[in-house]
Every structure is written in structure tokens, then in C-alpha cells.
Amino acid sequence: MALPVEEIKKLIMDSIPDATIEIKDLMGDNNHYAAVIKSSQFNNISKIEQHKLVYKSLKGKMGNELHALSITTEGK
């Protein structure tokens, strides 16, 4: 099952309102994405914690509906 880009963005923005998000659909199949996400919420926490915030915003979809989302996070 696939998840459209706009829905992924919305889920992330709901949890991380100041996020700047760029998402690429790597294969054009709504199923393999790469996302670059910047937020002040990532300042001064570890990479693991940053990625966990993104995963939590996706509410369990990661690893299920959403198979492949490569994540790069940065503070701002």
C-alpha cells in the first residue's frame, strides 16, 4: 500500500509544525521516498531522537503502509 507525498507531509507537519520538508518520490511509485526535514525541534538532540520524532509523527505507518522512507534530519 502506498502513501502519497502530501499525506506524509501533513502527518509530519501535524507533529512538527515548524518543519521544512522536502520529499522525493525516488521511483515514481508512491512507495520509495527520501525526505529531508529541518526543524528547531531537532536542535540539541541525537540523530536517533530526531528520527524517532519523525517516525512518531507517521503514527505507525513507517514499516507498514510506508515501506521505504529514507530520512535526513537537520536542526534549524
Binding site: 540523530k47 536517533i48 528520527h51 517516525y55 513507517m62 514499516g63 529514507s70 530520512i71 535526513t72
Partner: protein, 105 residues
């Protein structure tokens, strides 16, 4: 055996332990292959655990680490990250440094 105990014994007995889909020689997912290749490139001896052989372990490791995806790398019982983090650390030279700091290499 309780799955958390099994995971704890795996990460205690193996200084570098990679939970992955497939094996180091025959990965069954691009993300698992990427991490396995990075470790090989750094000449790290590691234990690979194929989560596809054990559904309990496949879910158990996600719960244990509070991390929803596979692969997952543990070094000396510490969760280091998944594919994106490992690749990023490798590209910045931080992964080699981590192995040096933890006296693996």
C-alpha cells in the same frame, strides 16, 4: 525464551550486532545490504541476525529499540541507528570514529 532476553543475549555476546533482512552474504533488502556493505568496507567483524527467520524477533527488535525499521545496528549493547543514520555517519567519518572510540578497531 523471552524475546527481550534473547535480544539482550545477542547484543551482549556480539560486540557488533546487525539485525537485518537476509544475511551479510545474501541480504534481502537494499537497506540491510547498504549497512552490511559499510561494515564490510570498514573491515568490521560483525554478527548478522536475520530477522526474516524469526517473526518474533522481527517485531521484538522493533519494540526493544523503539524503532520501526530494519536494519538496526548495535555496538557494545548500544543502539547506533538504522540505515539512514549509519550511512550518514559513514559519509562524515563518524562511524569509523565510533568504532575507534569503542575500541572495535
Amino acid at each position: 525464551m523471552d524475546i527481550n532476553k534473547k535480544i539482550e543475549s545477542l547484543i551482549s555476546e556480539n560486540e557488533v550486532c546487525l539485525f537485518m533482512k537476509g544475511t551479510a552474504d545474501a541480504p534481502q533488502c537494499g537497506f540491510s545490504m547498504a549497512v552490511s556493505n559499510v561494515l564490510k568496507h570498514l573491515n568490521i567483524n560483525f554478527k548478522s541476525v536475520n530477522v526474516l527467520e524469526d517473526e518474533n524477533l522481527r517485531q521484538g527488535i522493533k519494540d526493544y529499540s523503539d524503532w520501526p525499521t530494519i536494519p538496526q545496528l548495535y555496538v557494545k549493547k548500544e543502539f547506533i541507528g538504522g540505515c539512514d543514520i549509519i550511512k550518514e555517519m559513514f559519509e562524515k567519518g563518524d562511524l569509523k570514529k565510533l568504532f575507534e572510540d569503542k575500541k572495535i578497531i
